[in-house]
Amino acid sequence: MSSAQPDDPDHAAALLALVATEQSRTAFSELFNYFAPRLKTYATRQFGNEQTAMDLVQETMTNVWNKAHLFKPDRGSASTWIFTIARNIRFDFLRKNKHRQHDLSADELWPVLAEQNDSLDDDYALDDDLLMQQLAGYCEVLPKAQRVVIELIYVEGKSQQEVADALGIPLGTVKSRTRLALQKLRELINSDD
């Protein structure tokens, strides 16, 4: 056993990886023993109600057990990930306590436990029927200004904002170039069918 504690970010991330890949009970117990009492401290102060606090601890740690594979070390530390899970659960508890089940929910606001698409900006992902290989050929046809934008977004996986920053042009211009280029590409692909 190493002497590292789960408050060491690398160690916590390694424990989560073990839970994700091998459902390691030892790794999970170590995470639980560290995080659960601290969550309980937080939740008791938040709710002033022992039972609700315990429910929050249980729900948060259950998600850690079940969803460890959704933790992405490059997006933040393990403790931040667990914090965001607890934050979401608290938000939904408060909403349900107020009998506002139909109001905005935590998942709709912060999709902490949704599968992330790593390379593409979620909002601007290409239609599934536009395959990358096809794309490469078609891109040749685009005007240079549009091609550059498309390549940065869909090949290098930059967000539209990052492209705007990189090229020193307004975000609106990046958007209109993307829109025009995608329109053009769709037309080209459809005309090929």
Partner: protein, 229 residues
């Protein structure tokens, strides 16, 4: 570049979830569009995580062995479940568009995930349209679409108004606002938003109806309740 951002306080309360649903949507949409605020949100999350989990010693009354908290029992209960390997919901990728007057607008993630909450579009007056976004809570959240060369009658707010640009440009007396720009006005500010040679799709949160102040538009005041009910 985005010039107008939510305050640090707004960002912080977005991170903790302690704003009205309408304001959470506003700030979340801005964060979707603004890499600078995304960075700040990440830092705040880390800060709060450190605060929550950083203590070396847990106070006695919260320790695992406390009579009221049988940690071992909970641990066993959780691990008794077979890990749930169901695919988590994928972030939806299609249908993130809003189509209005034949134009297509890409919706940032926060709005795209709540597309089912967007109501029908209504013409307000002239070339101005609105659709409310039903997120619950006491504030009102609404899209406003202004065609080019459109002006909103001069008005103040009894409460506060946050407006942000989803796509396009609008101006008021003091500045020009473009994609991602976020403005927060309180009841002391009069303003007259208008579009010039571009149209503009904005999202606004209000905690009280608008109050129109200029001559003719005072007659329109009943219209304010229609505008943001």
């Amino acid at each position: 570049m985005i010039k107008f951002h939510p305050s640090e306080e707004h960002l912080f309360h977005y991170v903790t979830g302690d704003l009205s649903p309408a304001m959470l949507m506003m700030v979340g949409t801005h964060v979707d569009m603004c890499s600078q605020c995304q960075e700040q949100v990440r830092e705040m999350e880390q800060l709060l995580a450190n605060k929550m989990f950083g203590q070396e010693e847990v106070p006695e009354e919260f320790a695992l062995s406390d009579a009221s908290f049988d940690g071992d029992e909970m641990l066993a209960r959780i691990m008794a479940q077979a890990p749930d390997r169901h695919e988590a919901p994928r972030l939806q990728q299609a249908a993130n568009e809003l189509i209005l007057e034949g134009k297509r607008f890409q919706l940032p993630g926060t709005l795209a995930r709540n597309q089912h909450r967007i109501g029908a579009w209504h013409k307000v007056v002239g070339k101005m349209w609105r659709a409310s976004v039903d997120v619950g809570g006491d504030d009102v959240l609404t899209f406003i679409y202004m065609d080019k060369n459109t002006r909103v009658p001069e008005h103040t707010h009894k409460g506060r108004e946050a407006t942000m640009v989803i796509n396009g440009v609008f101006n008021d007396e003091t500045a020009e606002y473009r994609d991602g720009d976020f403005v927060f006005l309180d009841s002391t500010v009069k303003h007259t938003p208008e579009t010039r040679d571009e149209d503009c799709l904005t999202l606004a949160a209000l905690d009280a109806p608008m109050h129109f102040t200029s001559g003719l538009s005072r007659l329109l005041n009943p219209f304010s309740s229609l505008f943001f009910k």
